[in-house]
Subunit: 411 residues, 2 copies
């Protein structure tokens, strides 16, 4: 009996022709010439457009889809997404500026994040976007700033739920948290929102991210609606907005399977059919970042040196953890696992070997692939890290060891 | 019997007066006014100068001290260090430019790092610095570039030793590695260096970093000298240079104790007394980064919100993992531990409480202190992460969520 090692989920978002990856319809080697340097990140419009279409097919038609741009804030990507989705969620004043440069109606932009500065609150209120309030203190500051500006702030309450999203990559609700206001304190806060005459929009209830288990997301949706309906009773008026978060994951590591979107959508449809009368017309919003762009991007670097050390092959590339910290395993992972990595012009057909892909940094942390089976690569070949459209370049220490920055392109 | 939890090592590099931290002789609140924004990193000249003096006292007088500027490449810091140490080690073309802007003689600058590009090799050869060759392929490329430039490249061989530095934070030698050339292949490489008429400087043997155990460093020194003497037999001429690496650690986490520098120095003196006749005048170099600057720096951020969530206090600051990834625990650590953190103007005397310090990012990873005992802080107070002079701002994902960058100052 042979033991089968866990495999990466099948990835079909990019075409492979003549054993070369094509992204945006362009053969990889030519794309690298067009970009003019390695390393680079490439994001594909078509993959994002198809991903949004997939969601539209499976989610109830009256659910709005927001793009959480923290996953990929490249301005060209945000512009593209703005034409596909119903709203944008921002996490900082910097992101807000990029979102406001799109054609998205400001009333469909929301801003979540603990520790918003007065300057950020002021910009957000002046822009007329929805502030997801993270604390009572932030609420009071927003009211003061609104008065000073002569503009009624539009606010939603970000709730720290009294449950957790199970099997989640990152738990963002349940127990003591820095995010949102504990569910049990929300009724008092809602009364105060009325007193302060803030423009109450609704709730933002977000319990976790990077979840691949449909059952866990379904359970979170049920609990989220129940909590929202309970909290709505104390609201100064019926909520216009109910942001139930996102948390849909994408497969990164061997053994991970795709989220069953059909099951999540069907459950949501059932829940909404049941609850619509009680929601009094509140717009339900799902907010997704990684799920919209994560699979639409790749990181491309070039082999600079091929080394044999004590029986192991090392492909030393011009790319590394300074551009792609997550692929190195040094961003929140407890156990390092390999991202899906391929040699971009030797995907599957030629001779294969076991090799490690490392970067140019003087640290053993700088590892993009640890003893993976890859097409046999030489100096000059392009190595591609797939599933790299989200939390790539911006989540990496670009200045580490003062190497050149990665370029980003959208094709 | 009460159980004593592990404590942080006593930190005395910065003065505390009237319960306020003073850095560079400046009270912290005034320093923050002078900088004009939070968050910022502050590095102290005096602490670096004293650290170099401490090393000079304990190390044999004929050992050279190099600064590995990857630990902190801020140009003002590198300028300061250039006046204190005997050489600078760079890890990229970008770092090389900064090093060449100091008064350091280029012959005392060395460049290590796998995957050097042809452009980097060309700059380094033209500058007349010492290339630490990481592979046979790099040697051949250097020779070709040297011929093209009409300059004889100065080269040392970086050796992947046949032993490991025990108890090391990062193992960089022993077994299959991307760094250097396997010790057993070095004799062949040395012959080829002779054939290629490269200017042979010597060896760079570096086995690990962030080590707090004197015995482990002593053992590595002994093995390093033995290996160097063995390899020197195959060299085209007697080595002029023997870089034995560094690896001296600083205490970060509760329970860690300072390296016994006296023991390391005494052992090195004994070894050198014994080996000097056989070293034929080779200059012994110790290369340190973190140990020179790590304790001389602090990261300072401001409390924006004070939250209570289900019984726990959260201080939400304007600083976070986007500026200080290591303190968040997300840079190579397997188990998250707290860096030494204090409230900068309420260091020890006032009322205390257990609190967590978090940043403004929408991720639970953004944690600077997890339920630590701190002076009771309010909105506007300054939170200080100590031991932050090395691998701070440059080792952090500055663009993550598009928040403002941290400023760096040297006082």
């Amino acid at each position: 009996m042979s033991v089968q090692r866990p495999q990466h989920a099948a990835l079909t978002q990019f075409e492979v022709r003549a054993d070369s990856l094509h992204i945006g319809g362009i053969p990889l080697a030519r794309l690298a010439q067009r970009v003019g340097q390695t390393p680079f990140y490439v994001y594909e419009r078509k993959a994002m457009t198809e991903r949004v279409a997939l969601l539209r097919r499976h989610l109830p038609p009256d659910v709005h889809l927001h793009y959480a741009m923290k996953a990929n804030p490249m301005p060209a990507v945000v512009q593209h997404m703005a034409g596909l989705v119903d709203g944008i969620d921002v996490a900082s004043g910097g992101e807000l500026r990029v979102a406001l440069d799109t054609t998205m109606d400001p009333s469909r932009i929301s801003f979540a994040g603990p520790g918003k500065s007065d300057a950020e609150l002021s910009c957000a209120i002046a822009a007329g976007i929805v502030l997801n309030l993270e604390s009572e203190g932030e609420m009071e500051r927003a009211a003061v700033i609104g008065q000073r500006l002569g503009i009624q702030p539009r606010v939603a309450v970000r709730v720290n739920p009294d449950f957790e999203l199970k099997s989640s990559g990152m738990k963002m609700g349940g127990g003591p948290k820095q995010f949102g206001v504990d569910a049990e304190r929300v009724p008092d806060m809602l009364r105060r929102i009325g007193e302060l005459e803030l423009d109450f929009e609704g709730f933002h209830i977000f319990s976790g991210s990077q979840n691949l288990k449909a059952a866990a997301i379904q359970e979170a949706h049920e609990k989220t609606f129940a909590l929202a309906l309970r909290l709505a009773e104390a609201a100064p008026r019926a909520p216009r907005l109910l942001n139930i978060g996102g948390g849909f994951g994408v497969p990164y590591f061997p053994g991970e399977e795709r989220l069953d979107l059909e099951a999540v959508g069907a459950n949501l449809a059932r829940l909404l059919d049941e609850l619509r009368p009680r929601l009094q017309g509140a717009q339900v919003v799902i907010e997704l970042g990684r799920y919209l762009v994560g699979e639409a991007g790749a990181y491309v670097c070039r082999v600079v040196d091929r080394k044999l050390s004590r029986g192991q092959v090392f492909l030393v590339t011009d790319g590394g953890l300074h551009h792609h910290l997550s692929a190195s395993g040094n961003f929140g992972q407890v156990i390092r696992k390999n991202y899906p990595v391929v040699v971009g012009t030797k995907v599957a057909q030629g001779p294969r070997e076991q090799a490690s892909v490392v970067g140019p940094l003087c640290t053993p942390l700088d590892l993009l692939a640890d003893q993976m089976e890859l097409g046999q690569a030489d100096v000059g070949d392009l190595v591609v890290v797939l599933q790299s459209g989200a939390y790539g370049v911006t989540a990496s220490p670009a200045a580490f060891l003062s190497h050149p920055a990665a370029v980003e392109v959208l094709v």
